[in-house]
Amino acid sequence: MAETRTITIECLRYNPETDSEPRFQSYDVPFTDDMSVLQGLQYIKDNLDGSLTFRWSCRMAICGSCGKMINGIPQLSCQTFLRDIFPARVKVEPLNNFPIVRDLAIDQSDFLAKLQSVKPYLIPKDPKPVSAGTFKQTPEQMDEYYQYAQCINCQLCYAACPQYGLNDKFIGPAALALLHRYNADSRDGGTAERMEVINSEEGVWGCTLVSYCSEVCPKGVDPARAINQNKINSTKDYFLRFIAPKGGR
């Protein structure tokens, strides 16, 4: 039987029906070496306080639901282990920069609307029937976008982005990284349609290359790179419209 120790988990609590602002509540949680912060929260919900509210689903860093601020850093709670924090206390807060719905659950609707605005799907360059066969791609062409395709929409990068915190009109890291994921795909022909988002004030120019988004990404996506490459594309788009036929597109 694994050794059990006790760790203090401090959770931000907010009940929209009774609280005017959030407060912290501490719980002493027995844990074993294999327990994640998410499992600690589940222990609280099952044994100590059934009213604690938080999102989770897969428990294996693929669904992107359980992102929290853990000791001030945006992390997936399923991927952060209590043993690595012990003997210190664990401070769990909802992701920064988002409106809190209840306790550790944030309102994701702003992100979802932004995600939709970048048309995160292939818009084929030359549409062809299924009977014409598959679109082919070289490993090098795939390498151009593969890393960006690993995004799981966990929004840790939004919690890491001070520009989004200061102005939530900014399209933000994940949505712009996914925009670039499709623009960089050799099968895609939707760049012109997405250019409006890139060029807008809320687009890539809202980024000041803090680049903490790329640090916190649990999937190794580099949103800061996607955004800043598109500053070059946006500049080219601006100048080429004057000299190139069809605005260089």
Partner: protein, 132 residues
């Protein structure tokens, strides 16, 4: 759908909450020193057009204790500026491929640092060479 009551926490003092943000602010703030230093050099150029006496007075003013302290601070800030910007340089450029293989970010960062050192040394060599 009825409007949901939510709470948004203030972001005041965000740059003090995480060392990563503080270093970002140092990177951004260092450009103030770069600007001030450029203005000092431009002043020197302007004084040079006014003759030797004016230029010598400008040079003498650089020997004041305040100017010396500023120079030490500016040197430190220039080093921070150089290192912090080269650190993010790979993020500002498309993937570089040599022989079909992607050049690692660290190689690009190191190339930038080496270029900075080479340029600085070259500048001093030329400076010593042309100085009587």
């Amino acid at each position: 759908m009825p409007a949901i009551k939510t709470y948004k926490r203030p972001v005041d003092g965000w740059w003090r909450r995480n060392p990563f943000y503080t270093w970002y602010m140092v990177r951004e703030g260092s450009s103030v020193f770069v600007t001030v230093y450029a203005l000092i050099l431009l002043t020197g150029l302007w004084r040079l057009t006014q003759g030797q006496e004016a230029f010598d007075a400008w040079r003498a003013s650089l020997a004041s204790p305040i100017a010396l302290v500023f120079h030490v601070l500016a040197l430190w800030m220039f080093i921070m500026h150089t290192l912090s910007w080269f650190k993010v340089m790979p993020k500002t450029m498309p993937f570089v491929r040599i022989g079909g293989k992607r050049v690692p970010d660290q190689t690009i960062i190191n190339a930038g640092k080496i270029a900075a050192v080479v340029c600085t040394v070259l500048f001093y060599v030329v400076f010593l060479w042309v100085t009587p």
